[in-house]
């Protein structure tokens, strides 16, 4: 990534004949995960450029007020399609309502706006992500033949609704095991703002309080790395499985090194392409059909949807992520990791 530092408003000279409208995209933040600025922005840009439509991609920096301000400004600037990754359903709905009253079409990207009633919803299933994490941890613990392991939770930001969805996912897998007495529920804490430094302190204290922790469910790769750093300090790295999400270079390297059990890869390019296709069609005044639909739990209405499947990544399938082009070999196989890459069969 990295080319997103420039103004992204541009027009392609090779615009097709139809008087296409303008597409506005609001990304949520740049700190909970690097995907928004490095992946989504890039892929959406590529897709829009290819279709030759005008577009404007902005990031709300996890600030609801800014989110609304950007929406206002995009409509002011003449956007006819608005694609949003809401920060929460309330603001999302306000934006969608306002857009609709101005005759602007909307797409929910990655997160469903409850009660919003956008034209389309394109996403990964976040609960599914959590579920994969839970299953991954179970797999790794089983591999280690752990007996009644104590499992600690390092949840995402307490103020991030996605963190709640992830937790629902892994709780769905692990809670039955706690209830059955197979696993023991260890300490659980949420990490404010997904802050890795605080995550380090929080996990260090968990380990002090409960020295026999045998597995850690961490909500993403950054938090995972924080836990791994503490484990390393205590020479426990590799002995206690840690989960992750986002298939970042850091996470993948930790997996290759054997310090991390798994991560969840979300093929963002597919998601972005699907969303861009819908947006371009809307901008040209078409109304394409979606492959499936999702029920809005608040209104009970069906929202046309395109849903992508997340994929669990372990040491043996790290190569899939590289093959997909999400992470390059140069980034991943630096220094000591060259050897491990070869072992893992990464070309």
């Amino acid at each position: 990534g990295g080319e997103s530092g420039q103004t992204t408003t541009s027009t392609s000279s090779a615009a097709p004949s139809a008087p296409a409208g303008k597409i506005g995209v609001i990304l949520p933040d740049s700190k909970s995960s690097d995907r928004w600025e490095t992946a989504d922005r890039k892929y959406l840009q590529e897709a829009f450029e290819a279709a030759g439509v005008e577009y404007d991609i902005q990031n709300a920096q996890n600030d609801k007020t800014q989110f609304q301000t950007i929406a206002d400004q995009m409509i002011t600037n003449g956007a006819t399609v608005l694609m949003i990754v809401n920060l929460d359903s309330g603001t999302g709905k306000t934006v969608i309502d306002k857009a609709r009253s101005q005759g602007v079409a909307t797409i929910d990207y990655d997160r469903l706006t409850l009660g919003g009633g956008a034209e389309y919803y394109v996403s990964f299933d976040n609960t599914k992500v959590g579920q994969l994490q839970g299953e991954g941890l179970v797999k790794c613990l089983t591999d280690k033949n752990a007996d009644k392991p104590i499992v600690a939770y390092l949840n995402g930001s307490p103020t991030d609704n996605n963190a709640t969805l992830f937790k629902n996912g892994y709780d769905g897998v692990l809670k039955p095991k706690f209830d059955a007495g197979e696993y023991v529920k260890g300490p659980e804490q949420s990490v404010p703002d997904w802050d890795n430094t605080q995550a380090g302190t929080i996990f260090e204290q968990m380990l002090t309080q409960e020295p026999d922790i045998a597995g850690v469910l961490t909500a993403n790769d950054g938090l995972g790395n924080a836990a791994i750093t503490v484990l390393k300090k205590n020479n426990l790295n590799g002995k206690i499985p840690v989960t992750g999400q986002d298939a970042t270079v850091q996470g993948l390297q930790n997996i290759l090194a054997g310090d991390q059990c798994m991560t969840v890869y979300k093929a963002i390019k597919k998601e972005a392409d699907a969303a861009a296709k819908l947006a371009v069609a809307l901008a040209k005044g078409e109304k394409p059909a979606a492959t499936s639909s999702v029920k809005d739990p608040e209104t009970g209405q069906d929202v046309p949807a395109e849903l992508m499947e997340p994929q669990a990544i372990y040491a043996d399938n790290v190569k899939d992520v590289v093959a997909d082009g999400y992470v390059t070999k140069e980034e991943l196989c630096t220094g000591d990791f060259a050897e491990k890459c070869t072992e893992a069969g990464i070309q």
Binding site: D88, G90, T164
Partner: protein, 420 residues
Amino acid sequence: MSKVKELPGEAIVAATQAPSVRNTVVAYVQRVRGGEMGALPAVLGLVVLCAVFATARPSFFTAINFANLFTQGAAVTLIAMGLVFVLLIGEIDLSAGFASGVCAAVLAVTLTSAGLPWYVCMLAAIVTGVVIGVVLGTLVAKVGIPSFVVTLAAFLAFQGLVLVLVDEGTNISIRDEMVVAIANRNLPPWLGWALYLVCVAIYAGVQLRRARSRTRRELAADPLWLIGARVGTLALIAGLAVAALNLERSRNPNLVSLTGVPIVVPIILALLVLWTVVLRRTSFGRHLYAVGGNTEAARRAGIPVDRIKIMAFVICSSMAAIGGIVAVSRASSVDPNTGGSSVLLYAVGAAVIGGTSLFGGKGRVLDAVMGGAVVAVIENGMGLMGYGASVKYLVTGSVLLLAAGVDALARKRASAAGLR
């Protein structure tokens, strides 16, 4: 007692004679050159910003964007207005942002879970603000903990409180029409004009009555022409604003019409007038300035310093509550981030850019509104520019610095001339 001689007491040079137009203008120019510029630097900063954004993005100067500006900046401005009171007495309130979040959450909970009518809920939110202010003020004034620490603790505790109120991170949608209207609906155009007329008339009336009463007592009074000029300027600027806001700004006027002054505007104006009167025309306001200027002198003058401090915190937190209500209205929802992120820093920044001193004793509510306008224009303009995340941060920082730099350089002359 041989030394006590009668010496004629010379009267102070009181300019009771009505000054001519020329003299007044010359004196004003001299004052400005000497550094007493009032709101001039902030206005200058605003003009520079608007010019920059308007050149870069022509859509900046459209009716719809003008209307957006008000609703976008309202919450921060309201919180900044309250912060002025705390800054005036030389204290700080780091918790104002999250206090607005707590009050917003109270509004949401009473509205949805308890299902109470909107006015009861708003009252509950404001009462929550008052209680918060009493607690903070008491800890600062009576227990003597530095306000930075008290409000830092409150900053943390209130984050927890918001989480508890919104059930650990869920997001409460607000659907009450009245609450949503505040930041999302507009006055009918005729009402806008009616309010406009009432305001201008009252302003003119107050100015005239004051001048007449002073002339009667043979005190220096503003001449009629000056009052006329002031009222005229106000009437002109406000008239233009109302006219612009009454333009059709819907993108599909056939589908839906969008005209009129946003409802928050009269709310902000009313509070601006209220607090300005309190600060400048009541003994409480006088005492606030005294405590901020020289706490010891205020105490020696018999002013109940502790009570004044507590009151300042109460006003600050209540204004935060009102800001929170407006924020809820704008977002039509409450979540644990309400009042978080940069709300507090922007609010303090607004007050300081407007000219309020962090050391107390200097500041006006109008400053907060001017500073709030600067912050809103920056956010609004940056939204139009469409930069990426990193560039946006960089440019926003630089623009803020630019606006403050204009102000600082303008004031620099003043202190160089020995006027502080």
